[in-house]
């Protein structure tokens, strides 16, 4: 799974509590259908994040009566997200400058 999975999931969870299926659909919607993950691969990532104590989970019964595992971001998760965001922005700005230079040369 891509390295972007962690910040993506953490960002989605920072919007509020959510469950697996909805998280995948959100990624799909946000990317306009461009990002298609193999659905099953999301869950090991979620469990790894839970093991790293970045998120926590709770089984709950939905309105339809179906039992779902809801995930919520923890303070450590929010902190990690902030750090990763800063890293991404840094990399993004450096690459931007490089590519700008390259397009000028072209």
């Amino acid at each position: 799974m891509a390295a972007s999975a962690t910040p993506l999931i953490l960002s989605i969870l920072s919007e509020g509590e959510n469950y697996g299926y909805a998280i995948i659909k959100r990624v799909h919607d946000l990317s306009g259908g461009q990002m298609q993950w193999t659905d099953g691969m999301l869950y090991p990532v979620l469990h790894r994040l839970e093991k790293q104590k970045l998120i926590q989970s709770k089984w709950r019964e939905s309105k339809t009566g179906r039992r779902r595992k809801y995930y919520k971001i923890k303070k450590t998760g929010t902190k990690m997200l902030r750090e990763q965001r800063n890293q991404w922005m840094l990399v993004h700005s450096v690459l931007d400058r490089l590519w700008e230079k390259q397009t000028c040369l072209i």
Binding site: Y21, T38, D39, G40, Y43, P44, H47, R67, R68, K69
Partner: protein
Amino acid sequence: MDACPFGPGSIMGETNMFDLNECIKKWRVGLAQSQSLGKKDIDELEGHLREEIDHLKESKLSDEEAFLVATHRLGDSVCIAEEYAKIDYGHIFRRRFFWAVVGVLVYLLLTYSATAVEKICILIGGMGGVSVIGLWLIGLVSRVAIVITVFYFCCRIYRQNSNNCKLIGANRFVRYGNLMIAIFIILFAIAINRIIFPIMASRILDIRDYGLVATSSSFAKLLWSIFLPVLLVVLLKKLHKPDDLYEVGT
């Protein structure tokens, strides 16, 4: 590759009563075989699968088509299991260790209890004035009776196919309670075997007769040491098989 016998497209075009729950059950079996997923993990994935199937059925797909598309989107069971295994869940090892400990405890419990019962029978016989040969026979017969009883109960448990958790205790408190009881019985049996019996037997029998009676015990113990571990291994293997993982949710 499809684990479901109700595959797509029958030859003569007859309707092949597609059973969604049956197919999902088989899909669960496929996931459970890797042993890197627990029941709750499989429940979670099944929940996802069902939501996807419901979503696809809204787009007018049949049960069968929805199932195939949903399982395809979810991904290959083997790959999923591999990813779960990488997370290095301690609980899988803890579970195996736990069942190994249960097995050892049960072995100790049964062995010491059996010896204690045998010795009590011999004491009663001795106090009733039974001859030495009679006591020898009592020892042997009581052992055989215990073996048959244990075997009978093990067969019942085996056939009942009951949830392994129900046997040791449905919740943590019951389990600890059962553990305390088991340890108490073991200690009590040891007390009978090592303390009470020698003291009382020395009053009833002289040393030679005691030795004679003990030979039946030794012979029985040899058979017991072979029979019981085999029986327990077979039984625990059957109980450890995650049958309860195959239950289909809503």
